[in-house]
């Protein structure tokens, strides 16, 4: 297994008290696999990724428990020096906002080349050549001429390609993409997702795709982990989850997608709003919004338990709902 996250806990000290951003998240990603982590803002999907990458701001953040096994090594026990060698070379990240993720006063050639001078000890001249190759690889037209340009001289789609090039520069085994296409227009988004999927196949990388877009997930993911209020509430292979969700939150999200045959009717809407992380409801965090909620949901936190569903093999599906059977079949 390439990456295994075990029972990860992250909290933040805020003015309103301790915010429990991640409350026992576990997931795993295999080589060549795409895991989509789906969640709304505040669900903890990005914080989990930052903890895995080791780029969490501490303080105010604090990892209070759990393990992150990357190719068998527990990353949380590594020294910062060792961590830095892993980051970039063996695991890399693609960020949502390419304009703020790139350094505005360095040319893209310098920023791409830095990967090779720092991690591989190459000369600046060689690194420059590799930068041009990479830009070709992500299909930036006239790469040799544009290698000396600054980030602001590129369009949003082209900048996101540069981010991808930078992440893939050292052929890492794992890439975490945090909303890589959210800031892009649909026609450009399609180009970028296509490119990312193609490069992933070629390098057999594990890909963790963080998103809130059910459409993007359906297009590229193999498996999904749905997060709510810092917990994973459901994991399943992508086809099973869309066919028969085993958690009321997932069902609610799928039902609120506008559908053709229901045009002119009221959309299904999940009531209420996501909870504040400083005051996560007791029991199941989703219970105040859940149509299936009963007394046990208000007191007992439902564990992530195996789901035997239609077509699901042993251990493939799990749901953190006391009444997942009801949800799955109705």
């Amino acid at each position: 297994m390439l990456l295994e996250v075990h029972d990860l806990h992250v909290e933040f000290g805020t003015r309103d008290g301790v915010a429990h951003a991640v409350n026992g998240v576990s997931y795993r990603v295999d080589a060549g696999e795409t895991l989509a982590v789906l969640g709304e803002s505040g669900s903890g999907k990005s914080v989990t990724a930052q903890a895995v990458m080791g780029i969490l701001d501490t303080p105010p953040g604090r990892i209070t428990g759990g393990r992150v096994l990357f190719q068998g090594r527990d990353l949380l026990r590594l020294k910062e020096e060792e961590r830095r060698r892993v980051r970039g070379a063996e695991m890399a990240m693609i960020f949502q906002d390419s304009l703020s993720a790139l350094n505005p006063v360095l040319t893209v050639g310098d920023q791409l080349g830095e990967m090779f001078t720092v991690h591989r000890g190459m000369s600046r001249r060689d690194a420059r050549l590799r930068a041009v190759e990479l830009m070709d690889r992500v299909r930036i037209p006239a790469a040799a001429q544009r290698v000396g340009d600054y980030p602001h001289q590129f369009s949003g789609g082209m900048r996101q390609r540069i981010m991808i090039a930078m992440a893939l520069a050292l052929e890492p085994a794992l890439v975490i993409a945090d909303e890589p296409t959210t800031a892009l227009d649909v026609t450009v988004q399609a180009q970028v997702m296509d490119l990312l999927a193609e490069l992933q196949r070629e390098y057999r990388m594990g890909l963790v795709l963080i998103t809130h877009d059910l459409g993007v997930v359906a297009d590229v993911a193999d498996r999904i982990a749905v997060m709510y209020a810092g917990r994973i509430v459901e994991t399943a292979p992508v086809h099973d989850l869309y066919k028969a969700p085993a958690h009321p939150y997932t069902r609610g999200l799928l039902d609120s997608i506008p559908r053709l045959d229901l045009k002119g009717r009221e959309l299904y809407a999940i009531q209420g709003m996501p909870p504040s992380l400083t005051r996560v409801p007791p029991g199941c965090a989703f219970h105040p919004r859940c149509p299936l909620a009963r007394d046990v949901c208000r007191t007992d936190v439902p564990p992530l338990q195996a789901v035997q569903g239609p077509g699901a093999e042993e251990g493939e599906r799990a749901s953190a709902c006391h009444f997942w059977r009801e949800c799955l079949h109705g």
Binding site: E40, S41, S155, G157, M158, D185, V186, T187, V188, Q189, A190, Q191, M193, D194, H212, D213, L214, G215, V216, V217, A218, D219, V220, A221, V238, H239, Y242, G252, L253, L254, D255, S256, I257, P258, L260, L262, K263, G264, R265, E266, L267, Y268, A269, I270, Q271, M273, P274, R289, P291
Partner: protein, 382 residues
């Protein structure tokens, strides 16, 4: 909340057109009646003709001279009818938000006319403009920056009454504001709270209440739900549809989320680089698009159905949208179009029903600005 459709009863006796069309069509006769209801839309409440906005590009500090212009909106025309929703879709930079600002008279049009009930409002000023503005209101995209953090909710929603005191006399305003809070599904007791005490979805409700304060007839919605969480978007869309039925509002609904636009719109216009590429009923645009850009846009939208991903035919466009300061000659889309020929560079295609479909009554017979318009159903292509 067991049956989400059960709560969808229209609160007003006058049913909304789209509801008649789809939800309650049982027999053929009813279907025909619904179609008739659609054809008979009466006079448009808003008519936009050749609307143009060029932002000048200048050079020099002391002696500024114009060196060019960003052609944000370059001659677009459409009608908006009473009680209907016209969706406008397009990518960033296509000029859809500039259209919104022009309709609100927040920007002055370079050329063209906007008729509100037959009166050209694009050149009005002073009192006359103020009177018209009462009837055209706007809901903004970002519920965080569009509400003044130092004002209470009561002051924000009541501010339109300061400008148009004839709508609500001074002593009556708090009662009106409480009513409005109730209408948008917020607790009227919250009248003294500040925006930061609300979530994104609640803030957007406050923005909607402000938009409703003056009983407008037209509401321009510029990406009203794109800043909201997925689980909250549906609530706000339902609220907006309910209000439309209740007050017979006309919406110009600008968004980039094509599935939401389809859900809420009676008609849809597709914009590209300051021009209207195609316009028609939601079914005509989504099921029978004839403009290659519309087809590419629809095919690029991720569909939330993993079964579809193997069968779907996707048109992946190359390159980016050209700069509106220096748009291509002829058809704006030709630099990214797979059908482009010499004619496209020389001759600007006009927005009209394509010649070949003119005499047929197929759904492909709607306005499309392409020399080589041809039908292609990309959504259901399997």
């Amino acid at each position: 909340m067991a049956d989400p459709t059960g709560a969808a009863e229209p609160t007003d006796a006058t049913p909304n057109v789209s509801q008649v069309e789809v939800a309650d069509v049982h027999s053929e006769a009813e279907a025909v009646a619904a179609l008739d209801a659609k054809v008979d839309r009466g006079e448009p409440i808003l008519q936009v003709r050749d609307l143009t906005k060029h932002f000048p590009l200048t050079q020099g500090v002391l002696f500024k001279r114009q060196v060019g212009a960003v052609k944000a909106v370059d001659g677009i025309s459409f009608d908006l009818y009473q009680g209907e929703t016209l969706g406008i879709v397009g990518e960033s930079g296509c000029g859809k938000s500039t259209v919104a600002k022009l309709l609100m008279n927040l920007e002055r049009a370079t050329a063209g006319e906007i008729f509100y009930k037959g009166q050209d409002i694009s050149k009005l000023s002073g009192k006359a403009l103020k009177a018209v503005r009462r009837n055209i209101q706007m809901i903004f995209q970002d519920p965080y920056t569009s509400l003044n953090p130092r004002m209470t909710v009561g002051d924000i929603i009541g501010e339109p009454f300061d400008i148009h005191p004839e709508v609500a006399p001074k002593g009556d305003r708090r009662r009106r504001v409480k009513e409005l809070l109730d209408v948008v599904g917020l607790n009227p007791e919250y009248i003294n709270r500040y925006p930061h005490q609300f979530s994104g979805g609640q803030r957007q409700r406050i923005g909607i209440a402000r938009g409703l304060a003056l009983n407008p007839e037209v509401i321009i919605c510029d990406e009203p739900v794109s800043a909201l969480d997925v689980s909250v978007q549906a609530q706000v869309i339902n609220l907006m549809e309910g209000l439309q039925n209740e007050f017979n509002l006309s919406y110009l609904f600008i968004a980039h989320d094509l599935s939401i636009v389809r859900h809420i719109s009676d008609r849809v216009g597709v914009m590209y680089l300051g021009k209207m590429a195609e316009i028609g009923s939601d079914e005509q645009i989504y099921e029978h698009p004839t403009h290659p850009y519309t087809q590419a846009l629809l095919s690029a939208v991720p569909v939330p159905d993993p079964e579809a991903r193997e069968h779907r035919e996707r048109i992946i466009l190359t390159g980016d949208v050209p700069s509106p300061a220096n748009p291509p000659s002829g058809c704006r889309f030709r630099t990214r179009c797979w059908k482009a020929q010499d004619k496209c560079a020389e001759e600007l295609p006009l927005l009209a029903i394509p010649e070949r479909f003119k005499d047929s009554d197929t759904p492909a017979a709607h306005e499309s600005a392409c020399h080589f318009a041809e039908e292609k159903d990309v959504v259901n292509a399997a």
